[in-house]
């Protein structure tokens, strides 16, 4: 009787472990999917809040940028997907035209190089159309 209980318990734990592993595997896959397509959703949902958060956090340090600001998605040139968000700053009329920031990134060992181009289009095809009079003041990485 005792041996049967032990076998049943081990089997139950094994099944539970397999189930958890399967669930975790599914979660990772979902995360990957979200990372490709979900950043745009997060940006559209939280853009104003992130913008206010950055402005107020810098304001507390007396380092807020004086100009219009806006949070837009970052497009990876080549990859074509959204990889994060950026706060752009500049004159109001120029900032209002910005749709995205195109990022060109390279990695070399423990180093990295990154070019950030505010653009007036939301597709990362061809040469990005640089938005004049606008620059990047912050980059946001989402935890997904």
């Amino acid at each position: 009787m005792t041996a049967k209980w032990i076998i049943a318990l081990v089997a139950a734990v094994a099944l539970l472990g397999l189930g958890l592993a399967a669930v975790n595997g599914w979660a990772i896959s979902l995360g990957d999917v979200l990372k490709v397509g979900g950043v745009a959703l997060l940006v559209s949902q939280y853009d104003d809040q992130i913008d206010s958060f950055i402005t107020s956090a810098l304001g507390e340090r007396e380092a807020a940028a004086k100009g219009a600001t806006k949070v837009v998605p970052i497009l990876s040139l080549g990859g074509g997907g959204y990889v994060g968000a950026a706060q752009v700053v500049g004159s109001p009329e120029n900032v209002s035209r910005v749709k995205a920031v195109v990022q060109v990134e390279g990695r070399f060992g423990s180093g990295r190089a990154q070019v950030l181009v505010p653009t007036t289009v939301d597709k990362a095809a061809g040469t990005p159309d640089r938005a004049k009079g606008v620059g990047v003041s912050a980059v946001i990485e989402f935890r997904i």
Binding site: K66, G67, Q114, L116, A138
Partner: protein, 270 residues
């Protein structure tokens, strides 16, 4: 028991009061920047958000912006201890007037500078003194007679609204000078420069270079870029880039400048 508690309570209250006073005093930070007024490029010295001294001319081989940096440093030094109304005074210097805090000369006002403001050296020095006092939350001394100020005050003072009472004219002049600060910052410049960037994160330290872009005057001021890491509600991690005019613990942001490119390398892992 009550008597034993009274001493620490009084001490704690005293400490809190001292900390509050220190915090209020230290909140008045000094900075300087390039700005445009009346179509001309000028340099401003600010206490907090308020421009207190506007420099329009070069002197002794220093540009207005270089002079503003010197003046800002002198003000910072003077403000390390509490300033009283009588500490800020106008006195003579060779060929002009000087604005002093205690015995330290903050800025000398020569005739070309005063003429650029449409004022006499003495009137301009008094205006700047009153601006400093107002920025520090102190009341300007009454020796600033309205008639005297009206005769030699800068154009900003003469253009001030006439609705105020005569006895308030001097203060209006000072405030008017401060309020003409242009809120619009020029972000359309195309000058570029590579400056060092340094970031300290939980994972390690990185150093590198950042390319900043903006109007030439502002770009000239940029000495480096600070990267601040902020957490937004467990949803995202924010890296804010702040172009600064001085490498110090205080973030002296240069307005009108933004980051275009970054390259860094991990030098230390935690």
């Amino acid at each position: 028991m009550r008597r034993r508690l009274r001493v620490p309570i009084v001490m704690a209250l005293g400490l809190l009061t001292a900390l509050a006073a220190a915090a209020a005093f230290s909140s008045a930070e000094v900075s300087f920047r390039s700005a445009e007024r009346d179509g001309a490029r000028v340099a401003e010295v600010l206490i907090g958000e308020r421009p207190v001294i506007v420099l329009r001319t070069s002197a002794a081989g220093y540009s207005p912006l270089e002079r503003a940096e010197i003046v800002a440093n002198r003000l910072r030094t003077a403000m390390t201890s509490e300033i009283r109304v009588e500490d800020v005074k106008v006195g003579s210097v060779p060929s002009g007037e000087g604005l002093y805090i205690r015995d330290q000369l903050v800025v000398a006002v020569y005739r070309p500078e005063a003429e650029a403001h449409g004022a006499t050296p003495a009137a301009l020095a008094r205006l700047w003194r009153d601006n400093i006092l107002l920025a520090l939350g102190l009341e300007a001394p009454e020796e600033q007679a309205p008639q005297e100020g009206a005769e030699a005050a800068p154009p900003a003072a003469q253009e001030a609204p006439a609705g105020g009472a005569a006895e308030g004219a001097a203060e209006t002049a000072a405030v008017a000078e401060a309020e003409v600060e242009p809120e619009e910052v020029d972000w359309t410049g195309t000058a570029q420069k590579w400056v060092p960037i340094f970031s300290l994160e939980r994972e390690g330290a990185r150093v590198g270079m950042a390319q900043v872009a903006g109007p030439t005057d502002q770009i000239d001021q940029v000495k480096g870029v600070y990267q601040l890491r902020l957490d937004f509600r467990n949803i995202g991690r924010v890296y804010a880039y702040v172009p600064v005019s001085t490498i110090s613990t205080k973030l002296n942001r240069v307005q009108g400048v933004s980051v275009w490119a970054l390259a860094d390398i991990k030098v230390l892992g935690f």
